[in-house]
Symmetry: C2
Subunit: 201 residues, 2 copies
Amino acid sequence: MTQGTQGKGATTSTLWDRTRQLAAQEILQTALRLFTQQGYDETTIAQIAREAGVSQRTLFRYFGTKEDLIGGSEEGFVTLLTETVRKQPVDAGAWEALRAAFKAALSLHTSPEQALERFRLVHHTDSLRAAYLGKRVRCQEELLPLLEARLAPSGTDRGQARAIVATAFACFDAATATWLEGNGQGDILDLYDEGLAAVRS
Amino acid sequence: MTQGTQGKGATTSTLWDRTRQLAAQEILQTALRLFTQQGYDETTIAQIAREAGVSQRTLFRYFGTKEDLIGGSEEGFVTLLTETVRKQPVDAGAWEALRAAFKAALSLHTSPEQALERFRLVHHTDSLRAAYLGKRVRCQEELLPLLEARLAPSGTDRGQARAIVATAFACFDAATATWLEGNGQGDILDLYDEGLAAVRS
DNA sequence: GCCCGGTTGGCAGCGACTGCCAAACCGCTT
DNA sequence: AAGCGGTTTGGCAGTCGCTGCCAACCGGGC
């Protein structure tokens, strides 16, 4: 699929599958527009395909599921988190590493307004929220071994490491929920710190 | 639906919708059997209906969705948790109340073996896990106001209360995951305590 | 016997998603 | 210019979960 022609140029090759990327973006924008305009459940794949000028079949070839049309591919997200954690200095604790990962994830959004809009959409649509939560736990599982290494010195076992990772994500979600409730007031990371502080009082 | 005939008898009325309950249980057992035998995704509603001796249509009338065939109705679960929290003594803190609620929830399972089997099924099926997580956050939202009351005296704001509830559930999930990994070894509540202790070290 | 509220079953239909096959397309060679 | 191989695309039919609608049914009160 993506490799076909990926010769020497480290840049985006053949100016042909740049068209492909463009098509993908076109689909994505159309989908996001319709979702915010009329809601996720009220928007059908058929409509998105029609308005984006592609067939339903190819839409499903670009994005495997309807949920993938929001939040982009899961892989990118996961690797960003894992790489960020891995890059943290060895003397940084698990909590610091996780905080850094969340910070990196938040920096993906182009603007707070866009983030707010997207968070709202995900938060208010049951199916989307469920999908997000699924991704989240897969993330946790991926991160677990990395953080186990940082935790081992202090005699923390696997179950405890899992609890720590889960707690970090839970507080992050709580922070975004609170942020959403306040219509984007304040900084998510600050809310995260406050929440975690309350937990670890 | 359920009220139709619910006269004076506080017991299960009219010996007629006892048949209904029986039918419901029949469907549930069939579904659970098939799920564990051949997997959730591989089992179709048509098959369950056929083997349970009802039409697809009535199956959907008893259980609104395929996911409802596992873990029973959400309402029952939610009310159990909220009632348990509400019943806790006023001087009990939020953490104690949540722990009591988890304990009550765990006591719903008839046997550890059955719990293990069911947890495994949910944990290993993406769609089921997503559905469970969705229920979980709805639970959290329901519980939030109750615990806010217990937390208010110590000057905890809403965002922090949310973080605390989310953390408790996260640690509970981590505990069940660890319990599952150890094939049902030990006690979930003990694992929960250990995880929470590590978090709040 | 008869009507009546509530239950059931069958059918048609929707929306997400997949497999399959033929047509279109791109870049390359002759 | 014509041909060719590999990839991409579109259309079609089919599956599965789920819903609305309507006709048939069943137990109980008049």
